[in-house]
C-alpha cells in the first residue's frame, strides 16, 4: 500500500513534469509558425502569397506594396481609388464600389471550431418582422426530445410554441434530438436565416421563424453526408447560406433559396487537422487548405470551375532546430490545451524519431549511479528504473523527488 502510494506520487510527478518542462521549453524557444495568406489576382491571373512582410507570386518574384495592391484591385479598391489608380473595368466588367464590396467575403475554418464546447440553447429570431432592425426574442430554443422554447424571464417552457415547431419538424421527418445547430445568433447581420440543423439521423434541415410560424425545409442531398460542422454566413451577395464540412466527403456550400449543395473542389480535406480559408471577390474564390507545414491553394471562378492551383511546403516543427532539440531531450510531452481544440484534455504528443533515447539512457545511468551510491539494491528499484527508462528526465526527476527508501530499513547492513 505504501509502496503503491509512492508510485502514484511518482507518476503524478511524471505527469506534472511532462506538462511543465515542455511548456517552459516552448515559451523560451518557440517561433511563430508560418501562416501565409494566399490571394488570386484577377490582373496577373496567378496567386499572390503574402507571408509576413514579404509578397511574392508562386515563382518567387517579389512585389512592392504598391505593386501588390495594384495586383489585387478588388481587395484594395479603396486605396487604389484614393490613389486614382483603380481601373474602370476588368475583363470587360465595369467596376463599382458597391458591387465589389457585395461580392467580397472572407471565411476561415480551423479544427478548433470542430472541437469546442457549444451552447445547447439558441434564440430564434423573427425573420420577417417587417421592421428594419432585427430583434432578440425573449425565449431560447433547444432541440432534444422535442423542440422546446424556454422563456428566459420565467425559466418556463412555452408549450404552445414548442408544440407548433415540434410538429412542423416531425412533419418534415426530423428525428430528434438535433446533432448540430448552426446559425448566427445575433441581431448584427443583414437578414435572419434561422438555423441549419442536422437531426440524429444526420439529415440536414433549415429551420426559421416567419411571422411566428415555423418554416422547416428538409435539405435533400445526393448521397448521405457525414456532416461534422456547419457554419452559417451572412454574405452580402446572398450566394449561399452556409458552409457544410463533412468528415470524408469534403466541403459544401448550401446555395441560397434553392438549397442545392455545391461541393468545393478540394480533396483530402480532414476537418480534424486542416485549416480552410476562402477569399471571394467579384471574379474568383481563392481557397486555401493549410496543414502544419504545407498549403494547397485553389482558385475557382464564379461557376466553381478550377482556374489555378498552387502547393507549397516548408520544414515542419520537428525539422527545425528548436523542434529537433526538443525531440532529442524529451521523449514526449503532455498538453492540457492544444491549438486544435478548445477542450481541456491530456493531449499526449510523442516526439518523432528516436534521438530522445540517448537522454533516456543517460537518465537511466544517472539513476543507477544514484542508487548505487546510496547503497540500495538494484533489484528493489527495478520499477523505478523502468519508469526512468521510459520517461527519461521526467522519470529521473520524479523518482528523486519521492525517494524509494523502503529498502534501507530492510537492509541496514548495506549502509
Amino acid at each position: 500500500m505504501i509502496r503503491i502510494s509512492r508510485y502514484i506520487l511518482v507518476l503524478t510527478a511524471v505527469l506534472v513534469a511532462s506538462i511543465a518542462l515542455p511548456a517552459f521549453y516552448w515559451t523560451v524557444f518557440e517561433k511563430v509558425p508560418r501562416s501565409p495568406q494566399v490571394y488570386y489576382s484577377c490582373i496577373t491571373g496567378d496567386f499572390i502569397i503574402a507571408d509576413g512582410s514579404k509578397r511574392t507570386d508562386p515563382s518567387g518574384k517579389e512585389f512592392t506594396l504598391d505593386e501588390y495592391e495594384r495586383a489585387l484591385p478588388l481587395l484594395y479598391f479603396r486605396q487604389l481609388m484614393a490613389d486614382g489608380e483603380m481601373p474602370d473595368s476588368i475583363n470587360g466588367i465595369k467596376l463599382e464600389a458597391p458591387s465589389i464590396s457585395r461580392a467580397s467575403s472572407f471565411y476561415r475554418y480551423t479544427p478548433r471550431k470542430l472541437k469546442t464546447p457549444v451552447p445547447t440553447l439558441y434564440p430564434m429570431l423573427e425573420s420577417q418582422s417587417g421592421k428594419v432592425n432585427l430583434a432578440m426574442p425573449d425565449d431560447y430554443f433547444r432541440i432534444e426530445k422535442r423542440m422546446e422554447f424556454i422563456v428566459a424571464k420565467t425559466n418556463k417552457i412555452n408549450g404552445e410554441k414548442s408544440a407548433l415547431f415540434t410538429d412542423a419538424l416531425i412533419e418534415e421527418g426530423f428525428v430528434f434530438p438535433a446533432k448540430i445547430i448552426a446559425g448566427i445568433p445575433t441581431t448584427r447581420k443583414s437578414v435572419d436565416e434561422g438555423y441549419f440543423v442536422t437531426d440524429s439521423g444526420g439529415s440536414l434541415f433549415h429551420i426559421k421563424m416567419i411571422k411566428g410560424e415555423p418554416y422547416v425545409i428538409r435539405i435533400e442531398t445526393e448521397e448521405k453526408l457525414d456532416i461534422v460542422y456547419i457554419e452559417a454566413v451572412d454574405l452580402r451577395s446572398r450566394e449561399f447560406y452556409c458552409y457544410v464540412f463533412t468528415q470524408n466527403q469534403g466541403i459544401f456550400v448550401v446555395m441560397d433559396e434553392v438549397y442545392d449543395l455545391q461541393r468545393l473542389p478540394i480533396d483530402g480535406f480532414n476537418p480534424e487537422i486542416h485549416t480552410f480559408r476562402i477569399n471571394a471577390d467579384l471574379f474568383n474564390k481563392c481557397i486555401t487548405v493549410l496543414g502544419e507545414n504545407w498549403y494547397q491553394a485553389i482558385a475557382v471562378d464564379d461557376m466553381y470551375k478550377v482556374v489555378g492551383t498552387h502547393y507549397e511546403e516548408w520544414s515542419g516543427l520537428y525539422e527545425r532546430a528548436e523542434g529537433k532539440a526538443f525531440a532529442a531531450i524529451f521523449p514526449f510531452e503532455i498538453r492540457m490545451k492544444d491549438d486544435s481544440s478548445a477542450f481541456i484534455r491530456f493531449f499526449f504528443r510523442p516526439s518523432p524519431g528516436y534521438r530522445w533515447i540517448i537522454v533516456n539512457l543517460v537518465s537511466l545511468i544517472i539513476a543507477i549511479i544514484l542508487i548505487r551510491r546510496r547503497g540500495w539494491a538494484i533489484g528493489a528499484n527495478i520499477a523505478d528504473l523502468l519508469i526512468v527508462g521510459f520517461t527519461g528526465i521526467y522519470g529521473l526527476a520524479a523518482t528523486q523527488f519521492f525517494p524509494n527508501k523502503f529498502t534501507v530499513n530492510k537492509q541496514p547492513n548495506n549502509k
Partner: protein, 222 residues
C-alpha cells in the same frame, strides 16, 4: 476507537469547517443576489445570451474557494500533529499505524467532500430558479475541476505536512503546485468535460498518498 479518532479530528477541524461553510454560503448568496439583480437590470434574455454566446459566468467567485478550504482543512488537521511530533503518540496506540492514519485522513476527506457536495447541491438548486439544465450542466462541468482541485489540495498538503525532511517538503510542494494548477487552467465554459474522468481518477488515487510521508514520519526519516 473509531469514534474517538473522529472526535479528535473533528475538534481540530470544526472551526475551519464551519468558517468554510459560512464563507461558501455567503458566496452562494452573493452569486444569486447578483444574478437576480442583473436579470432585473439587463433583462433575463440578455443575461442568458452573455452566458451562452459570450462565455461570461455568474459563479466565478467560487473558483479558488475550494482550494482555500482544502488547504485550510489540511493545515488544521495535520499541523497540530507535526508540532512536537504529536502524531507519534497516536502511532503508539495498539492499532495498526497505517489503519489509524487512513481513518484520520478518510474522515477529513469525507468532511471536505460533504462540504463541497453541499455547496454544489445548493448551487444547482439556486441556479434551477433562474436557468434551465442547458445552462446549469455546463456550469457544473466548469466548476467540478475547482472542487476536485480542493480535494487534491487537501491530499497533497497532508502529504507535505507529514513529511519529516524539509527539503522533501519543498520538492513535494513543487509537484503539488504543478498538479493543482491543472485544475485551475482557464478555459471556456464546459471545456473540462473530456478530462474530468482522468482528473477524478488521479484525485482518487492521490487520496492515499499521505501514507507515504506518514511512513517516512514513523520511521523517523531525517
Amino acid at each position: 476507537m473509531l469514534k474517538s479518532i473522529i472526535y479528535k479530528e473533528w475538534i481540530k477541524i470544526r472551526l475551519i469547517v464551519l468558517i468554510s461553510l459560512g464563507l461558501s454560503l455567503l458566496a452562494l448568496i452573493n452569486i444569486f443576489l447578483k444574478v437576480r439583480h442583473d436579470i432585473l437590470f439587463v433583462d433575463a434574455a440578455n443575461y442568458w445570451y452573455s452566458f451562452l454566446f459570450r462565455g461570461s459566468t455568474y459563479f466565478g467567485i467560487l473558483k479558488y474557494l475550494p482550494f482555500a478550504i482544502g488547504l485550510a482543512v489540511a493545515i488544521a488537521q495535520y499541523i497540530p500533529e507535526t508540532v512536537n511530533k504529536r502524531i507519534k503518540l497516536t502511532f503508539h496506540l495498539p492499532v495498526s499505524e497505517n489503519g489509524i492514519l487512513i481513518r484520520m485522513h478518510a474522515f477529513g476527506a469525507a468532511v471536505l467532500l460533504s462540504l463541497f457536495l453541499v455547496v454544489m447541491g445548493l448551487f444547482t438548486a439556486g441556479s434551477a430558479i433562474f436557468f434551465p439544465s442547458n445552462i446549469i450542466n455546463p456550469s457544473l462541468v466548469t466548476m467540478t475541476p475547482w472542487f476536485l482541485g480542493g480535494m487534491a489540495t487537501y491530499f497533497l498538503v497532508a502529504l507535505i505536512l507529514l513529511e519529516p525532511v524539509w527539503i522533501f517538503r519543498g520538492l513535494y510542494a513543487v509537484v503539488a503546485a504543478g498538479f493543482v494548477t491543472l485544475f485551475y487552467t482557464s478555459a471556456s465554459i464546459g471545456a473540462f468535460g473530456p478530462v474530468l474522468p482522468a482528473l477524478i481518477l488521479i484525485t482518487l488515487l492521490l487520496s492515499f498518498v499521505v501514507l507515504f510521508s506518514g511512513y517516512r514520519f514513523r520511521k523517523g526519516e531525517m
